[in-house]
Amino acid sequence: MIVEIDRVRFAWKSGQRDILDITRLEITAGERVFIEGPSGSGKSTLFSLLGGVVRPREGTVRVLQADISQMPAARRDRFRADHIGFVFQMFNLVPYLSMMDNVVLPCRFSHRRFERAQTRSGSPEAEARRLLVRLGLEPAELLARPVTELSIGQQQRVAIARALIGAPELIMADEPTSALDEGTRKRFLQVLSEQCDEAGVSLLFASHDTRLGALFDRRISLDELNRNGAGMPGQAP
């Protein structure tokens, strides 16, 4: 079991209405799961919980069998750095770093991922280069350019490389295709799935675009999962 949520309640501020109230969610290792829900339904909040950025008000969140809801903040941050890769909707890259430095960034915060990248390719930089090539980015011609000059499609692929480097067990992608056009989106999904399969990584993919759900092993509707459907603001359960 890579993710296990048990009777979790969460509110951003104490005293406010719970935005998430999930009785049970289980994801097995290697599974590719599509989480659908309109914007504002709590997808990002769920990811914050799973990423250990915030703690639930009640209940337990287990990632890789570890109860991250009981960990102190520093350990949660380290846990996230070691085991989880993220891809966001857009602006995934640190604008003042090169493509290479963006990709190897997780290896600077996680010793585990540094070592795994090193074991795999000799050095984080070599591993970054390998991943970028696999993702259809030719590093030689792109490395010199500032990342802000890359197209959004290219930026998202760099973000995948960054999420994959050092082989974390879980990748969470939050609306990663919303800023892409039809053609790029297809290519992006294909590349993401391929890479996750190849690395044996579990994938949590959240999007409001239900059409994409068919490409995944399993689809979960957050509105059904979450008993406090935030899609109906102001309404008490």
Binding site: G51, V53, D77, A81, F86, V94, R108, F109
Partner: protein, 419 residues
């Protein structure tokens, strides 16, 4: 350490605003260090100007005024003292030597000082240095002159050249002693003191220039040539001041009191070091004000830096979320912004030091020419390092303001990209 690298990149990516901010800090640091340097060097130069002289005696006025006009050639004497008084005091017990000083004339902007050959023997500067002749020697004839190094250099004079002295101490004079030219008999080596900017003549020569004058103007119908003057009694009636050397230092206060109690004429004897200290006390108010203003300029520079970092904060919330997602803790974000402030302060201070030295290279000859102050170009002293360290520390500490804000933001935002 990783955060410092990130901070460097981040600052570099905003070259234009960062550059301007750095420039503001650099200028302020250069100004603070510059003020401190000028203050220190000016003190050093003043303190090094006269030594070996136990007392300076002149007409009764203020101690500082007497010191300024007799030794530093700044300002003018209000009154003269008589030659009899000079002779009289020269005969006091414990007095080893006296050197007369007559002022009031000039040569093309440089002060002309009437004195005796003993001046070249007894005058000391920079504690123990004596005056050295670069060429020639002391006066031989009544109409001989000895030039300070800068006078000769700036006006291009060599030995045996003839110079004409102007009446009055101003830069521009309308009355010239052109009937009695002086021969350049000697040129002194540079000393870094007002001696370099002085034309020395004998008191006899000084008297001779004015022998056919009365009440500050040439007497109509009476023209005495240089040769005629040579035959006359050229003992001056008055002099401006004189230097006194004693055989025993311990007697300074006794002799000073005796001179100040001298009943024939109101005279004032000062101890150069003591008068210099009085001058510093007077100047310290202005100095401290100048330091305060410079410190305020540095504070303004650092405030500018704070503004730049703080105003970038909103736009950088996404960047912070990305960093959090790859494993950065809020403390890392805090460190990133602290490091940016440190980079600004450090690079700004370093640029300020460079700026100061560039300004010194350019300004040194100008300051030397206009103010007679030699600013040696030396490595920063311990005092300078303290100032630099203080600026860097203050800048880094100021970085806590945006850093704490960034810390709170990244804690609140987490991974969500609020736009």
């Amino acid at each position: 350490m990783a955060m410092v690298r990130l901070a460097l990149r981040s600052v570099f990516s905003r070259r234009v605003t960062a550059g301007l901010t750095l420039l503001a800090i650099a200028i302020s640091v250069a100004m603070l260090l510059g003020v401190e340097k000028v203050r220190r060097d000016a003190r050093g130069a003043f303190a090094n100007t006269i030594s070996g002289t136990d007392l300076v005696v002149g007409a009764r006025s203020g101690a500082i005024q007497l010191l300024l006009y007799s030794v530093f050639r700044i300002g003018n004497a209000t009154n003269n003292i008589s030659w009899e008084t000079y002779q009289d005091i020269g005969g006091f017990p414990r007095v080893l030597w006296t050197v007369p000083i007559s002022l009031g004339d000039s040569h093309r902007g440089f002060r002309v000082m009437g004195t005796s050959s003993a001046y070249f023997e007894h005058y000391r500067y920079a504690r123990t240095e004596t005056l050295q002749f670069g060429s020639g020697g002391p006066f031989v004839d009544v109409f001989d002159a000895v030039l300070g190094a800068e006078v000769a250099d700036r006006l291009g004079y060599a030995l045996e050249d003839r110079i004409i002295v102007s009446h009055g101490a101003g830069d521009v004079s309308f009355v010239e002693h052109d009937d009695k030219p002086f021969r350049v008999a000697g040129i002194l080596r540079p000393t870094g003191t007002p001696v370099d900017r002085t034309v020395h003549v004998s008191v006899q020569g000084f008297t001779a220039m004015h022998v056919d004058w009365m009440a500050g103007a040439p007497m109509p119908g009476l023209a005495i040539t240089a040769d005629e003057a040579r035959g006359m009694d050229l003992t001056p009636k008055t002099i401006t001041a004189f230097l006194v050397g004693l055989d025993r230092k311990i007697a300074i206060f006794d002799v000073q009191r005796r001179i100040n109690d001298y009943s024939e004429e109101p005279v004032l004897a000062i101890i150069p070091g003591v008068a210099l200290q009085e001058l510093w006390d007077l100047m310290s108010v202005a100095e401290n004000l100048l330091r305060f203003v410079s410190a305020m300029v540095v504070a303004t520079g650092l405030l500018g830096m704070l503004t730049v970092i703080l105003s970038s904060l909103e736009a950088r919330r996404r960047e912070m979320a990305v960093l959090r997602s790859v494993g950065a803790r809020p403390l890392h974000v805090f460190a990133l912004f602290m490091s940016e402030a440190m980079v600004f302060a450090l690079v700004g201070a370093a640029a300020g030091v460079v700026l100061l030295y560039v300004a010194l290279l350019v300004g040194q000859p100008i300051v030397a020419r206009e103010f007679g102050l030699h600013l040696p170009i030396a490595l920063p002293g311990p005092g300078d390092w303290w100032i630099i360290a203080a600026v860097v520390a203050a800048g880094t500490a100021a970085g806590a303001v945006p850093a704490i804000r960034a810390y709170r933001l990244s804690l609140a935002d987490g991974l969500s990209m609020r736009i």
